[in-house]
């Protein structure tokens, strides 16, 4: 019989503090970059200082002669004649006794470059006669057209009598992940064919596989540890060239461990980014506010090879649409998945156009949005059946959010927000995401004769609270406290666990955790029932007691003692109904801002985030993920931007100073609410890591436009972009 979540849970869905929160906050937790195994050497990478260059020669000898240097190597397939396609492209690596020696040695490596012409901005890349990043099928002038999509007859619909339309350009820049802990690992080559690594990764299993594959050794010979990790956001799915290089250096250095973590600049340059979005949009609706047509020509850059596409149309029902997207290639680091890949860009473009059109129509943008939801928007339940309609969910969520931001009382049309220097504005945006998890993972549950309980799987905690989630589920089933459970994760040799991407970790790991706890419990019942003169099916667990027909009979520890020498050790798998496999969530966010129109400075006063994600295991870790998502979105909305220099082809702000990120005093009041009805709970577990970061930047941009009466077409909402938008409005007037 398939298991079902308890109808009246004691712990599931309550607010439970992260079990490892204190050790993380106090610095007691040892991150992979804190590891310092005995005999450890420091690794450092030499990377391209040029945006585009050919290597004429490499001489490692000067570095090899430097003090403290134990190993030097050229990385990957680099050799004389190789082309480097971006500043930050990897060339060689060093391992030395101290970090300073390693960097000095990196500088001593002699590389002769033939500097090639480069393109680092979208405008540079598409200019006539621009240098080519690389040759490939279908690439013309550094551009590759994605397949265009057309529904209905958008041109005709837009030109129909009575249709009101806008035509606008919107732009969002390339941003980078800025993981607080950089990419990398500390690795030890053991003997001829074994590897042990402490990696900052969101996929211990994938990282182990990468290392095994690189050396042609069995994955069983590789152990990857990730007890805790300092942020990934989609950019840390494997060993990467840096990890594999570090393992080679360790082998060369006779098995001495090598620590290889990127410096902050390299992190910005070569460890992934979110592609830019450039959109030319025409959006039209009937006078009463029903969308009829969207025509969008979009482009973006994901660097020297990655794509940049994003979903559009987004969320709303548009009967006629045409969309063409062009990938632009530049001599910049390649994009990697970044928290809800594509969606924040799609949301900015769609929601900005929605707001601009609502303004032109003279309709409240909230009403305009509700009018244009899909008639039915079916997404999956916990049995992979499309029985859940997202449209009424959006209606409820928007009502909740509007109430919390005070839309009815505070919202005023554009240009009607006062005449002083400080203007207040409200904005909103809707978003969607998948967030289910595959049914392919396992969790081991052990009950020991001393009463201790261990939950174990090769997943990791990217911020989802995986340890706490396991403990809550086991404690719920076993009638124990959360702190009675030991959760062990972040070890590639444990039973197969979910890589943390696509908001899949909690939905993928909760079902096998639940089933493992049930299997262990049932085995315990079989063992202790005879001693209680009861049948196993008469036993239950509650408040640390084994109960017979509901009556407490035996304390937990005494029951476990009856196991004698033998622990119970079982492995749980997933089963239908406990979690959604493909998800399909919605949500909305509202922003209240004040804009100083004399300085262009934007202050976000309040964000309201409403989110549905099925059954919530821990309300507190759920909320903290939404806070994190909102803060990430706020950074995208207000601050972040990769700035490239066209002449020399370098990134000008590869730091955390001029690459701007919110500090504590930039964080507004954030109100988070779960949309968690019985129908939502019945969908089972769905992940929440990504959806709450999607619509924040769009909502902030809309709030700024509402405040100042003019669209700021360029994200982020910096003083420059705001003042430039105000000036262009005056220029037109």
């Amino acid at each position: 019989m398939p298991s079902v979540w308890p109808e009246n849970p004691r712990l599931i869905g309550t607010r439970i503090t992260r079990l490892d929160g204190l050790v993380k906050a106090t610095g007691k937790a040892k991150y992979p970059s804190d590891m310092h195994p005995e005999g450890m050497l420091f690794g450092a990478m030499l990377y391209s200082p040029h945006a585009h260059a050919k290597i004429k020669s490499i001489d490692l000898a000067p570095a090899e002669r430097m003090p403290g240097v134990k190993a030097v190597m050229i990385v990957g397939a680099i050799k004389p004649g190789s082309t480097l396609r971006f500043q930050g492209d990897d060339i060689a690596a060093v391992a030395a006794e101290t970090e300073e020696q390693a960097w000095d040695a990196v500088l001593a490596i002699k590389v002769e470059y033939e500097v090639l012409p480069h393109v680092v901005t979208e405008a540079q890349a598409v200019a006539p006669g621009a240098a080519s990043v690389f040759k490939g099928t279908g690439i013309v002038n550094n551009q590759k057209k994605a397949r265009s999509q057309t529904n209905g007859d958008p041109e005709k619909a837009l030109g129909a009598p009575g249709v009101v339309s806008i035509e606008a350009n919107y732009m969002a820049p390339v941003i980078t992940h800025v993981c607080l802990e950089p990419h990398g690992l500390t690795v030890r080559f053991v003997g001829e064919d074994k590897i042990e690594a402490w990696a900052s990764t969101q996929a211990v299993g994938v990282t182990a596989g990468d290392l095994a594959g690189a050396f042609g050794i069995p994955t069983t010979n590789v152990t990857v540890h990730t007890e805790v990790m300092g942020g990934g956001f989609g950019s840390k799915f494997g060993a990467d060239i840096w990890g594999i290089t570090a393992a080679h250096l360790s082998k060369k250095a006779g098995g001495r461990p090598v620590k290889m973590f990127l410096d902050r600049a390299h992190e910005h340059l070569g460890a992934g980014n979110r592609p830019s979005a450039i959109a030319h949009v025409k959006l039209g609706a009937s006078k009463d506010g029903k969308l009829v047509s969207l025509i969008a020509e979009t482009s973006g850059t994901g660097g020297a090879g990655s794509g940049s596409n994003f979903p559009l149309p987004y969320v709303y029902a548009v009967p006629n649409s045409s969309r063409t997207h062009t990938d632009i290639f530049v001599n910049g680091g390649n994009a990697r998945a970044m928290r809800a890949p594509g969606h924040p860009q799609g949301c900015i473009v769609m929601e900005a156009a929605m707001d601009d059109l609502a303004d032109k129509l003279g309709i409240d943008p909230l009403e305009f949005r509700l009018k244009n939801l899909k008639e039915r928007d079916m997404v999956e339940d916990g049995f992979s059946k499309p029985t859940v309609d997202r449209t009424p969910m959006y209606l409820d969520e928007v009502a909740m959010g509007a109430d919390l931001i005070g839309w009815k009382a505070k919202w005023k049309p554009r240009g009607k927000n006062g005449d002083g220097p400080i203007r207040r504005g409200l904005g909103m945006a809707l978003h969607q995401w998948g967030g289910g998890g595959p049914a392919t993972n396992q969790v081991a549950c052990t009950i020991n004769p001393d009463g201790s309980v261990e939950m174990k799987s090769a997943t990791q905690d990217i911020g989802t609270g995986a340890r706490t989630i396991f403990a809550i589920i086991a404690a719920e089933v076993l009638g124990l406290n959360v702190t009675d459970i030991t959760s062990n994760i972040g070890n590639s040799t444990f039973p197969p666990g979910q890589p943390s991407g696509g908001s899949t970790t909690t939905p993928a790991m909760s079902p096998p955790a639940f089933n493992a706890a049930i299997l262990a419990r049932d085995e315990l019942f079989v063992k202790v029932a005879p001693g209680l003169n009861a049948k196993p099916e008469d036993l239950t667990l509650a408040d640390g007691q084994v109960c017979v027909k509901g009556e407490p009979k035996l304390p937990w520890k005494d029951a476990c003692r009856k196991l004698g020498q033998q622990s119970i050790q079982v492995t749980g798998k997933s089963s239908p109904g406990l979690a959604s496999q493909h998800g399909g969530v919605g949500g909305c966010q509202f922003a209240e801002v004040s804009v100083d129109i004399e300085t262009g400075v934007v202050r976000v006063k309040k964000i309201v985030a409403i989110q549905d994600t099925g059954l919530i295991i821990d309300k507190m870790t759920w909320e903290t993920q939404v806070y994190g998502g909102v803060i990430g979105g706020l950074n995208y909305g207000l601050f972040e931007e990769r700035v490239m220099d066209p002449t020399v082809g370098i990134m000008l702000n590869p730091d955390m100073e001029l690459y701007k990120l919110a500090g504590a005093s930039d964080i507004p009041e954030i109100v988070v609410r779960a949309y968690e009805t019985p129908a939502m709970k019945a969908r089972g577990v769905i992940g929440v890591g990504e959806p709450p970061t999607v619509s924040t930047a769009a909502a902030i941009g809309n709030a700024v436009s509402n405040a100042i009466g003019v669209r700021v077409p360029h994200w982020p909402m910096s003083p420059k972009n705001v003042l430039d938008a105000l000036a262009s409005k005056e220029g037109k007037a």
Binding site: W103, V643, P646, V648, K660, A664, S665, K720, L723
Partner: protein
């Protein structure tokens, strides 16, 4: 970071001797020098860790104007802790309060703030002070959103980075400098110059000299600073202005108006100062005076927005001095 010799002293005399004849650098709070060394932008042979006292005091001399003395090693945190300074030198207090983070304020010193090197991203990327490469000025051709809008005919397009220089110049402060030939005192404004060649420095202080203290006469009148920046937390000003005003009745009899973030040196808005003369500070006069502050402005391709920002910042600094904070939400 390149290996270096290290000297630590609280004595200015020893610091000057230690700087003699080598490629040396003074380490004050370290918030600037260490990051330049880590990025290989600055590679001194000898680092002289000069840690003099942190002292702020006001001395009254009989019959004369009282004088404020701020020793070189005074941290921004200690400056901010002085209640008397906050009351009498709000322009300086305000500028100091907006610098960096609490951690930086605890480390950074007044001398270090005045003598820090430009934050220009080309300079920090190793392209030199003027960032001219193959005859092309990278800052002029490239992303110059944070660059100068005044004195832009030359090649020095970076902005002077010191926030404290702006109010100190407005307040008529002097700097005392000790060198191998003894002590000299100059106006704080004379610490800065516009470099013409890449080998020039933007600071006039010699490589073997040490700034020992700042002195300024107690202001007779009102003073204030207004700063505009993108973030509320740790960020650099986009533009800031400090004013020091003397009054004859309700009218301004003498005005000092200095703007930061707009030129390779702290920029003195002389025409605005003249325009302020003989008028009371009102919303209307401040607006008109601020318009004079941008006479001769020549923005670059990407920083036209700074012109409007400069006007606003000057206007608000003037009004802040007389207690009109019209831009604050009620």
């Amino acid at each position: 970071m390149k290996a270096f010799e290290y000297v630590s002293t609280a004595s200015a005399d020893i610091a000057v001797k230690a700087l003699g004849g080598v490629d040396g650098a003074i380490l004050a709070g370290g918030t600037d020098l260490l990051s330049r060394m880590k990025d290989y932008v600055t590679t001194p042979k000898r680092v002289v860790d000069f840690n003099p006292q942190s002292v702020v005091q006001k001395e009254t001399s009989p019959g004369g104007v009282p004088t404020w003395t701020i020793l070189a090693g005074t941290t921004l945190a200690d400056l901010l802790a002085s209640k008397a300074l906050r009351e009498e030198l709000p322009a300086l207090w305000q500028a100091a309060s907006e610098v960096g983070t609490p951690q930086i304020k605890n480390m950074a010193t007044i001398a270090g703030n005045l003598l820090q090197r430009p934050r220009c991203w080309y300079y920090r990327s190793g392209f030199g002070l003027l960032s001219v490469k193959d005859g092309k000025n990278l800052l002029r051709e490239g992303d110059n959103r944070y660059a100068s809008i005044f004195h832009t005919d030359g090649d020095a397009l970076f902005v002077a980075p010191s926030s404290l220089a702006v109010p100190l110049i407005a307040l008529g402060a002097s700097a005392t400098i000790l060198g191998p030939k003894g002590e000299r005192t100059v106006m704080v404004s004379s610490l800065y110059q516009i470099p013409k060649r890449d080998s020039d420095r933007e600071l006039t202080i010699g490589a073997d000299e040490v700034l020992t203290k700042i002195t300024l006469p107690a202001p007779q009148g009102k003073n204030a600073t207004y700063e505009a920046r993108q973030k509320q937390s740790h960020d650099w000003p986009l533009v800031l202005a400090s004013v020091s005003l003397r009054f004859d009745g309700a009218s301004v009899s003498q005005a000092s108006i200095v703007i930061g973030g707009v030129a390779p040196i702290p920029y003195r808005a002389v025409e605005a100062e003249k325009a302020m003369f003989g008028k009371p500070v009102t919303l209307e006069t401040a607006e008109a005076v601020a318009a004079n502050a941008i006479n001769g402005v020549k923005p670059l391709s990407g920083n036209v927005y700074k012109v409007a920002l400069t006007k606003t910042v000057v206007k608000r600094a003037l009004l802040a001095a007389v207690g009109n904070r019209y831009w604050e939400e009620v």
